[in-house]
Symmetry: D2
Subunit: 237 residues, 4 copies
């Protein structure tokens, strides 16, 4: 059965800003869904303005991997929904946080850190190096590749030491960034991937698409044991 | 200058329960403070019933390392104080979570996980193995040692993969546990150490004391750079 | 195309010792091959007494994952073949080291450590806990399971901190062990799994078989980029 | 008692090449020793052309931390001495590998990897970012700093995933590098630090000196337990 992917987008820039709309006419989530469908995943869209932000218990229960893009509306995501997502990740749903989603409520709660970083919105060139070539997320990805225009994100990146650092990015202004990182929380696998500013066509780049598709496969629930907790005597009885 | 340590205890069992009081007449925090003072640290006590739980902004600002023991009153710690501690850890204060404090608000927020585990309150024997002997927290600690009576804590322990697993524990019922783990969040170093049930004299054990003293030294602020975040152009100007 | 697995065994105990032969009449490698074939892998056998130990350049070039079992003949493996295997691992072949193979030349060279441990050949009970349930090697594996008779392997285990510790084992004598560990070297993924003493029918246990099959899938080459090294100017020209 | 540091240098460039000698008239080892003595360490020099390369059993036994600089003569270090150093590291001596020493026999044996990388000898600018500011090696180090002229070293760097990545470097040509990494092997702590090409005055830079001094403190033997290995029954008897 195809992996079930839900792509969530705050979907604000694309409606407010003509330039962004020119790049992503149906929203960043639609662009992401486009190649994910082609890659054979079963894809659902969701966004902020929907009831429960489109992320009801039922929908989350039917989601293997949740992709997340947010930027200016982190605070508009309700605590109830944020907690719901967090619980689903801990019980096994994969979570892929894209670009500015490093400040999303769910991501910060799962990481337990401020996720601060440096940024510069200058549309400069970004060069991305694959530094763990044996990782499944690097399948079919070149040793390095370039995006002609991206937002600069620079170190220090205030995250806990990732389980794995897969990509390191270079920017012309003298900055570097851990642009592809994995984490595990409970049964859930988490991937953060930095490229994807709303005004650049990053999600149409075939290598970026490849990385995100690979990450969906990697982040899917493993089918491992569901741990049992609590008073052990009672459970044995 | 001596490292400044604040020892926090919910301090409930010792007052409610004669048996616990027999072991820790002045509270677990007083027992911890006892050997820490002998080891040359500057120690302050704090507990739940004090105003702001004894953890005002001012006191936290003067604390290099905070020790934490809580069990039945995690939920009584105010969100304001929990957030305050969390912020202090991210900006460099060390945090040592003892025993049942794996369910403390602050610890769970910093780890981003449920911190579930198995337990059995049977006073059985615990054998603790040092598995990273080169770590400064293992200084002067034997390869393995035993506590005659402890609460069993068993895997799976629902924590993120620790930066370092220093101790593994064995229990007679067939359980194992990652009983000494380090984490980093922001500038703050965190150590979790499992032994220390309230009804057993664990904190009088000289090896346990040694480990906790070592951990205070290890968790003290490093004097590294304070990262700057945000719009980088502006900051350079 | 099916993953190509080569199962290597020193194949000495089974021929010298009637009791071992009773358990593994055709050798441990044949027992391993048995369930791997059923799981759909393309399996080849190799052993010490063959020319080049059955591991010619050609055979290694056609091997996606190499399983290794050795115990009393580590030193009889030629340096030439050991180096050849090491090179193949660095260039992407998966390597699964079973039981006493933690002292195999190849494993020690790849890990850069002595791989010392404690042992006791007493056929006692081993209880194995899955502590990273989200890992693909844990797919279909219970939270814990028991082997009625195994050789005790105890900490400290003198390995570098593994990339991931998947299994922790408990033994009745008071010992614990990191019994399932992953490492990466170059493009090669490495899994060490402790159970499998020659005189016990461990490799007929369906959970053990499941873990090893999962590990083969996990350790297969990822299809990531082949890094280029050296004078970079020249390479660009 | 002061930590006992031995600084080893192949000491070839400085004698063959006038330009290098102009920078390091008494050798790179002497320049390193200079600031280490000022920082209060007890320092000894050693180099390739000495009997046993200046690294007899006796001298190594009296060394807490060994600094290593080699470049064109890795293969001239005898296997006997390389093995001797390796054994000392496994039993607790700290090891700091500088610059091109990533290809030193000892370093590669301890890491179990090829340690390949990209390089360009162009004297270009290097910018170094501290990405784990809470680490003791970052004490007193700024968030980032620049070296006006260094050799470019670029990813992928074929090392095992480090225990900790402390520094990331940026080069003008579009390359990034994990320029400060820690590893543990046995009881020994290892730090790799990339800057230090022989023709640039890198080791006179006060921040570089600070990092190396910090690393010596960090890498010193911890005083932890010496593990016991082997047949455990016998040892208990």
């Amino acid at each position: 059965m195809a992996l079930r992917v839900t792509v969530w987008n705050e979907f604000i820039h694309e409606r407010r800003d003509k330039e962004v709309r020119a790049v992503y006419p149906d929203g960043i989530h639609a662009a992401l869904a486009g190649f994910l469908v082609e890659d054979g995943f079963s894809v659902r869209l969701a966004s902020l303005e929907q009831p429960e932000h489109g992320l009801s218990e039922e929908i989350l229960a039917q989601t293997d991997v949740l992709l997340w893009w947010s930027h200016i509306a982190h605070h508009l995501v309700s605590d109830v929904v944020a907690e719901r997502i967090e619980r689903r990740v801990l019980s096994g749903m994969g979570f892929i946080a894209l670009h500015s989603s490093q400040k999303a409520k769910v991501f910060r709660r799962l990481l337990g850190a401020s996720c601060g970083l440096k940024w510069r919105e200058s549309g400069e060139r970004e060069r991305i190096w694959a530094v763990e070539p044996s990782h499944p997320i690097c399948r079919g990805v070149p040793e390095s590749f370039e995006l002609p225009h991206e937002e600069m994100y620079g170190e220090p990146f205030a995250i806990p030491a990732p389980d794995e650092v897969l990509f390191l990015s270079w920017f012309p202004g003298g900055e570097v960034f851990r642009s592809g990182c994995t984490f595990t929380r409970g049964l859930g696998k988490i991937f953060y991937f930095q490229p994807g500013h709303e005004s650049f066509p990053t999600y149409y780049d075939p290598i970026v698409q490849r990385i995100i598709s690979n990450a969906v496969c990697w982040a899917a629930p493993s089918g491992g044991p569901k741990p049992t907790f609590g008073n052990y005597e009672k459970e044995k009885a």
